[in-house]
Amino acid sequence: MRRALTLIVLACVTVPSTAADATERGVVIRNGDIKVQPFLDAAPAGNVAANDAVTIVDRKGGWVQVQAAGKTGWIRTLNIRLAATDGAVAHQTSVASAASMLRTGSSGKTVTTGVKGLGEEDLRNASVNLAELDKLGTLAVDPGEATADAQKKGLKESQIDYLAKGGKK
C-alpha cells in the first residue's frame, strides 16, 4: 500500500516536468569567431555563420559556450538567439520543477496542478488583500541586513553610470 502511494506521488511529481533537463539550443545571429575563452581578445576556436544552429553548453557573464558543427567555443550572448521552446523550461531541473509543483500557497492549500494563472481575468476579479500586504511588510529586511548578506556572498560594488539610449552616454 505504501509502495503504491509512493509510486503515485512520484508519478505526480515527475510527469508534468516535460522539458526537464533539456538542453538549450540557439541560432547564431551574425557571422564571427567563436573563442577558446570568454574574452574578446581570446584565441579563435573556429568560425560560425549567421543562422548556424548551436547547442549552448555554459554561460559566463556576457558569453555563452556553444557547440556548433563539431566545434566548441565561446560567443557573445548578444550574438545568439535562443531557439523557440514549447513554453517549457530548458534549463529547469526535474527536481526544481517538482518542488514548484508541490509548493503550497500561503493559504496552506496544496498545489497539485502546478498551474496558478495570473492573467487579465485574475486581475479584473481581484480585490486588495490587506492581510497579504501586511505579511509582505513583515518580510522586508533593513539595509544593514542586506549589506551583511552581500558581504557574506562577497559581492563587489562598483560605481557605474546609467546607459543612454543606443549607447550614447
Partner: protein, 303 residues
C-alpha cells in the same frame, strides 16, 4: 470632460469601503473639498503619498496571487532586492520584495518600493544575476516613478495626490481605505502595461543597478532570451501583453550596452544561495521495505 471626470471621482470617493482588516474612518468632507480642487494646479506626489498608493496597488496584485509560503525564499529575495535598491537613487524607500504564488511568468512593482515576482518566473531563472536583473528592472520603474506617471495620466494628477494623502498609512503602507478609482486605474495599468519607452529605460537601468551591486550585467540578456524563446500565450500571456517584444528589448539593450560593461571584474553570475533555492535537495528516499532481503540481494549489495 474634466468636470465629468471630477464628478466620477467624487462618486468613487464616496464609495470608499473600509478595510476589512482595519476599518478606519476618513473625513469625507475633506475628501470632497480636495476633489473639488482637482482641476487646480498640478502638484508633486510626495513620498508618503507614493508609498500609500503603492501599498494599495501591491495589495491588489496580492489579491490575485498571494505570497508563496516559503520563508527562506522570501527572505532571500528581500536580501537580494534590498541590496540592489541600495544601489539605486532611492535607497531609503521602505523596499519590500515578495514571491507570489503563480506559475505564470511575470514581475510587478508599485510606487513607494513594492516589488513582486511570480514563482513561475523565479523557477525559470538560471542564476542569481538573472534574479538581480529582474529585480533591478522593477526597482528602476519605482525609482523613475513610471507607475505614478501612468496613474497621473489616467486619473489626473491632483486627484491621485488627494487619494494618496487620504489613504491611511500603516505597516503595509495602507491599512484603511483607498478609492475604487485608484484601484481600478491600477488594475488597468497592470493589465495594459507601462509606457514602452519606460520599459526600455528600466532595462537599461536594471543592468546597471545589478552591475553596481556586484552582479553580471548580462543577467537581463539571459532573462530576455528565455522570454524570446517562449510562446506568447499561456503562462507568458500577460507579461507579453504588457511589455515590448523580448527580441526588441534585447536589440535595444544590446545597442545601449555595447561592450561598455564588459570590463567589469569580480561580478558574479551565480551564488550558492540561489542554487540552494532553485535546486532544492531531492526528497528523501522511501523507507526500506519491511520484508527481509533475499540472500542473493544481500550478496549483490556487498559486491
Amino acid at each position: 470632460m474634466r468636470w465629468a471626470r471630477i464628478a466620477c471621482a467624487l462618486v468613487a470617493l464616496c464609495m470608499i469601503a473600509p478595510s476589512p482588516a482595519r476599518a478606519q474612518f476618513i473625513d469625507l468632507g475633506d475628501l470632497v473639498g480636495k476633489a473639488k480642487n482637482a482641476h487646480g494646479a498640478l502638484h508633486t506626489i510626495g513620498e508618503d503619498e507614493e508609498i500609500r498608493i503603492g501599498g494599495g496597488l501591491a495589495g491588489l496584485i496580492l489579491g490575485a496571487a498571494p505570497l508563496v509560503n516559503n520563508p527562506a525564499e522570501q527572505r532571500y529575495v528581500n536580501e537580494v532586492g534590498r541590496w540592489l535598491a541600495l544601489h539605486s537613487e532611492r535607497p531609503a524607500l521602505p523596499w519590500k520584495f515578495g514571491v507570489i504564488d503563480s506559475s505564470d511568468v511575470n514581475a510587478f512593482s508599485a510606487p513607494g518600493g513594492y516589488v513582486l515576482i511570480s514563482q513561475g518566473l523565479f523557477d525559470r531563472l538560471r542564476n542569481e544575476s538573472e534574479l538581480a536583473a529582474v529585480l533591478g528592472h522593477e526597482i528602476s520603474h519605482v525609482v523613475r516613478k513610471h507607475q505614478i506617471k501612468a496613474l497621473q495620466k489616467s486619473m489626473g494628477n491632483a486627484l491621485l495626490g488627494d487619494v494618496g494623502r487620504t489613504a491611511t498609512g500603516g505597516q503595509g503602507g495602507l491599512t484603511g481605505t483607498l478609492t475604487s478609482g485608484l484601484i481600478n486605474s491600477g488594475r488597468t495599468m497592470f493589465m495594459r502595461g507601462l509606457d514602452k519607452e519606460d520599459e526600455f529605460e528600466a532595462d537599461r537601468m536594471g543592468v546597471v543597478i545589478a552591475a553596481r551591486s556586484g552582479y553580471s550585467p548580462y543577467g537581463l540578456v539571459g532573462v530576455l532570451q528565455t522570454l524570446s524563446a517562449a510562446p506568447t500565450t499561456g503562462a507568458f500571456a500577460l507579461m507579453f501583453a504588457t511589455h515590448p517584444p523580448a527580441t526588441d528589448r534585447i536589440e535595444r539593450l544590446g545597442s545601449a550596452m555595447g561592450t561598455r560593461l564588459d570590463g567589469l571584474t569580480g561580478v558574479v553570475d551565480d551564488l550558492p544561495s540561489f542554487v540552494a533555492l532553485r535546486n532544492p535537495p531531492p526528497p528523501p528516499p522511501p523507507p526500506p521495505a519491511p520484508a527481509k532481503a533475499s540472500p542473493a540481494r544481500r550478496k549483490r549489495a556487498h559486491s
